[in-house]
Symmetry: C2
Subunit: 246 residues, 2 copies
Amino acid sequence: MKRIRLRVAYDGTDFCGWQIQPKKRTVEGELDLAINELLHTKIHVIGASRTDAGVHALGNVAVFDTDSPIPPERFAFALNQHLPKDIRIQSSDQVPDDWHPRHCDCRKTYEYRILNRPVNLPTESRYSWFCHQQLSIPRMQKAAAYLVGNHDFKSFCSAKTDVETTVRTIYRLEVEQNEEHIRIRVQGNGFLYNMVRIIAGTLVQVGAGKIHPEDMPDILSSCDRKQAGITAPAHGLRLVEIDYDE
Amino acid sequence: MKRIRLRVAYDGTDFCGWQIQPKKRTVEGELDLAINELLHTKIHVIGASRTDAGVHALGNVAVFDTDSPIPPERFAFALNQHLPKDIRIQSSDQVPDDWHPRHCDCRKTYEYRILNRPVNLPTESRYSWFCHQQLSIPRMQKAAAYLVGNHDFKSFCSAKTDVETTVRTIYRLEVEQNEEHIRIRVQGNGFLYNMVRIIAGTLVQVGAGKIHPEDMPDILSSCDRKQAGITAPAHGLRLVEIDYDE
């Protein structure tokens, strides 16, 4: 028996998120299906990040156990032959039998993309949130700086959550502009439900002048979801990578 | 009566190209429909570039004539209310009554995108040609340089064409690399049928070592389509803009 780790990229548009659900098209469901087709046994993968419906990924992580003689690094290619085109395994390797993608120390990097111009562009709208009002990048950067570090992010978490603690560490949170493209990059040791999308929505409202950058400490300390900004739409978000300390 | 010019962006994925065809979804057909819905009269637009099925555009150009009292620059917003999301009018203005988008001196800019990495990325595959073999950018740039200028591009034109002359001028042809993204940008006074896609396909074969950069002058002078490389797929191509000398 060996444990195989997959790095999984997908276009989230046509998925009801990661987590398997009856009669819904999910990334986890498609992965299980492909593995079962390849190995002719019923296997369930365990995923690192259960991304929401519409969220994309360049490098989500999943593991499964198998006795198959297929070399670990060949599973990427083999599974891609059985997967739909909107999922591509980027690589595969063997990990220790007790290695778990959610119980390991890791750094997750997400990117939120905003298209900031007067009219939407169809070639961008699948992967960017379109904002027509002009956004101030310096204001967004100033607000972002308050969120870096170890904080209770309860204000930046959707109500429907049952986590033990809402304290998380953000290592980096950068707002970059390249002409009409704005990218928010955030790296942390874990994120609460909708946390990155609420951060993105709040920063956009800061950029539009509706929230003051200096309000961020009060928003954090209130531990009240209603004090933070709106939840940015899912399609602008992508899970870039998960780095494990190993 | 006034002539209105539209700058039109679209995601070409779900269109059978620009040109109107019975029972097919085309950009021209959708524009006609939207104008007829808005103005309640049967009007046909005249387009600048009749892009192929699957080709995208940031700034194709179309004109139509109307007596409507709507201010010329308001047509962009008004028509977007009637158009599907994969077409967005970027701007509208009035042009002289005899201004024709195909009979004017202009510079057209196209971009061809290539994703050059071992495994495809679902979030890129809609707008880039995936090439897994490593491509040499210096070789591609060297080959590209031979194509700049005034040449007979018959070798870079698909057979099914009935143009008067196959001589065209390429003002610029650049191959740029940003990590795994390769972009071919070409600007010219007009392009033959499939010309940009054949240039892109040929340059990729040069980059992969299958064609020598030094063969380009012979390929040009042969005036034989079979001497050039393959036709790159439509989805990597986008019409960036059309500049009119005015």
